[in-house]
């Protein structure tokens, strides 16, 4: 055969050393520093898309879609608090700080949540008047840094969330780089302006569940046992963490999967620590059931909730409510293609922009730059969030009625099947078309 007619071996890219990995090696070699970014994990994971509802048929009786009631309300904090919270919908807004977000964005979250009848949550850095003023129901986070923490704001809150960890970085603290430490942010956190602010990963005055129990007692004493106390954990060992939170006296447990976002953390942390929310819900519910506390201590789950189907699936697996963060920011206008030219100028594209720590967000949400922040109209953005929350609820109701449920909380694992063996094992529901639940009842 002529040499010129021999077929050439085509260039083949390595599946292991893929273009992203190669670029990261080169970037690390050039800079000597890891990549920091915002958001949650971007890898493909078993998720709610891997589950399907069975719907009613001969053996189950559906409810009429536009005629018969399917309730959506939820009570949170009924275990010990004198004033538990009653929300119209089981979708809450997750904790996000003023500092990470602009004042306008916090106000918009408050406006949207209030229209929809749900709660918002503060973050590292304390409570702002914008958020308290616009949020009918506000959860005050109690974090390791205690930035901006004071008893007056504690008493103004409707609930208190003791943050042990979050799904994007279980075991890690916070980070707010100098670019976003404006005068106002610095003053609220008692820090010099322009420095990198690293929040501690452990609480300064308690260690372990026995101490946490006493800390919760103190918070209850200070607020005269009025406020529900939540404990938020990142999803890692959900059975034990939820059991210990209950033992410590929590009214509500918030469980955040690795798809949950962060304002800024090392990419390696976001992508390699923690477990997907799909794998965390059933062990958490089992812990509550084993203690006889399911529905008595409420479970809020978060991490990758995008639509009403995700809401319905999380509730069917045993959660009492869900929390949204990333999706709420997208509803406000984050990563909107309308800003594509500006994203391109920063070397990224709409949908992929995650350098939230740099404070250059063209949507005016993850920034402290007054000019950028002023681009976000809190009234308009709040309306968009309210619309989105309404759609989440309507979609979840649509599914629940099809399954014959008169309340979203009546959805149950028996309504679900899985499309993959992984999802079947994690969600502990049968692989579709079989009665096989792989993996048994392990923790």
């Amino acid at each position: 055969m002529d040499a010129e007619n021999i077929p050439q071996t085509l260039p083949r890219m390595s599946a292991t050393f893929d273009p992203h990995s190669l670029a990261e090696i080169r970037r690390a070699a050039a800079t000597g520093i890891y990549d920091i970014r915002g958001g949650g994990t971007k890898r493909k994971l078993p998720h709610f898309d891997d589950l399907l509802f069975l719907g009613a048929s001969v053996s189950r009786y559906p409810l009429e879609g536009y005629r018969e009631k399917c309730a959506t309300d939820v009570w949170l904090g009924t275990r010990f608090a004198k004033k538990p919270i009653h929300l119209k919908i089981p979708v809450t807004i997750a904790g996000m700080s003023f500092g990470a977000l602009s004042g306008q964005a916090k106000e918009a979250l408050g406006r949207g949540a209030t229209i929809a009848g749900t709660s918002t949550t503060t973050g590292d850095g304390g409570m702002t008047p914008e958020e308290r003023g616009q949020s009918e129901t506000l959860v005050y986070q109690y974090l390791p840094s205690r930035y901006g923490m004071n008893p007056d704001d504690l008493r103004k809150a409707d609930a208190i969330e003791v943050v042990v960890g979050q799904g994007a970085k279980p075991g890690g603290g916070g980070m707010l780089l100098g670019q976003k430490i404006s005068d106002r942010v610095a003053a609220m956190r008692n820090l010099p302006m322009g420095i990198d602010q690293r929040s501690a990963c452990r609480h300064p005055d308690w260690t372990g569940p026995d101490d946490l129990e006493i800390k919760i007692e103190e918070l209850r004493e200070i607020t005269d046992w009025e406020k529900p106390i939540y404990v938020k954990v990142g999803a890692t060992r959900p059975y034990y963490d939820v059991a210990l939170a209950v033992k410590s006296g929590a009214d509500v447990v918030v469980l955040d999967g690795m798809q949950g976002g962060t304002a800024a953390t090392q990419d390696v942390f976001i992508e390699h620590v923690g477990i997907p929310i799909l794998a965390a819900i059933r062990p958490a519910v089992q812990a509550l059931q084993d203690l006889g506390m399911h529905r008595k201590v409420q479970l809020i789950v978060s991490g990758g909730i995008r639509n009403g189907a995700d809401v319905a699936k999380a509730l069917a697996l045993g959660a009492d409510a869900v929390a949204i963060g990333t999706a709420a920011l997208v509803a406000l206008g984050d990563n909107d293609p309308v800003h594509e030219a500006e994203y391109q100028a920063m070397g990224t594209t709409a949908g992929a922009y995650d350098d939230w720590h740099e404070g250059r967000d063209p949507a005016g949400i993850t920034t402290q730059d007054p000019a950028l922040a002023s681009r976000l109209d809190p009234v308009v953005a709040g309306r968009r969030l309210a619309n989105y929350l309404s759609v989440l609820t309507l979609e979840a109701q649509t599914i629940a009625r099809a399954c014959g449920k008169s309340h979203l909380h009546n959805l149950e694992p028996e309504d679900l099947v899985a499309l993959s063996i992984e999802a079947a094992a994690m969600a502990r529901v049968p692989l579709a078309g079989t009665d096989w639940i792989p993996g048994g009842q392990g923790l």
Partner: protein, 229 residues
């Protein structure tokens, strides 16, 4: 004087009575008998009253205190005066870990020793310890002052921000980014005032103290400092 006996009154009732006080209350002096080391005693006060606890207190005594003066006759458990905003807390005995943690203001006086993490993440409080303090004290201390008449344990002031530390005795070791600093007249003046407030200005001289604070080398992340973290 208003006397509450915790042998016959619950902690919850006591704290609620104190929380119900108006800013201009005439019930300005309270005595708490039989505290028996209970937790969260007199936490969350918000009135200019004086409360004397006649014995030992458990965790978080006088937590988040505002305006009140709290005197603990014995020892105090973990997190005494944590997140205090204003007022005075005086421990006649020793204090456990995390004394004055994250406190924003006011004065915490400890007549005995304080254990590990004294003044951790403090945000403006003044702390005077007449004995010694344990390891990792003033970790990530943001602002305010710690005065120690005795010694300081390992890793004093690790990752400290703008807090000022004055130690009369030995410092076992300094934490990352914490260095000894010059004692200038304004520092001596502030220290003298705190010693007076704590009632020990006759016993010790400001000249016996050394000052420690932040080298400010870790304020913005730089890869060349990675080994310091």
């Amino acid at each position: 004087m208003h006397v509450v006996d915790l042998a016959t009154t619950t902690r919850r009732e006591l704290n609620q009575q104190l929380h119900a006080l108006a800013a201009d209350t005439n019930d300005t002096h309270w005595r708490i008998d039989n505290p028996e080391g209970q937790h969260a005693l007199v936490a969350g006060l918000d009135a200019p009253v004086t409360v004397e606890i006649m014995g030992h207190a458990g965790y978080y005594c006088a937590g988040m205190n505002k305006l009140a003066t709290v005197i603990i006759g014995g020892n105090a458990g973990v997190g005494v005066a944590e997140n205090m905003m204003s007022g005075t807390v005086h421990v006649k005995g020793d204090a456990s870990q995390s004394a004055g943690a994250t406190a924003h203001g006011g004065l915490l006086i400890i007549d005995g020793d304080a254990s590990a993490r004294c003044g951790i993440s403090m945000k403006g409080v003044d702390i005077v310890v007449k004995g010694s303090i344990g390891p990792m004290s003033a970790f990530m201390a943001q602002s305010g002052t710690i005065v120690v008449l005795g010694d300081a344990g390992e890793a004093l002031g690790d990752s400290i921000y703008e807090a000022r530390l004055f130690v009369r005795g030995e410092v076992k070791s300094l934490g990352s980014d914490c260095i000894e600093k010059e004692m200038r007249p304004e520092h001596k003046q502030g220290l003298r005032k705190l010693l007076q407030d704590a009632g020990v200005s006759e016993e010790v001289s400001v000249d016996e103290f050394r000052r420690y604070g932040s080298a400010r080398q870790l304020y913005n992340f730089h890869v060349d400092n990675a080994a310091a973290y």
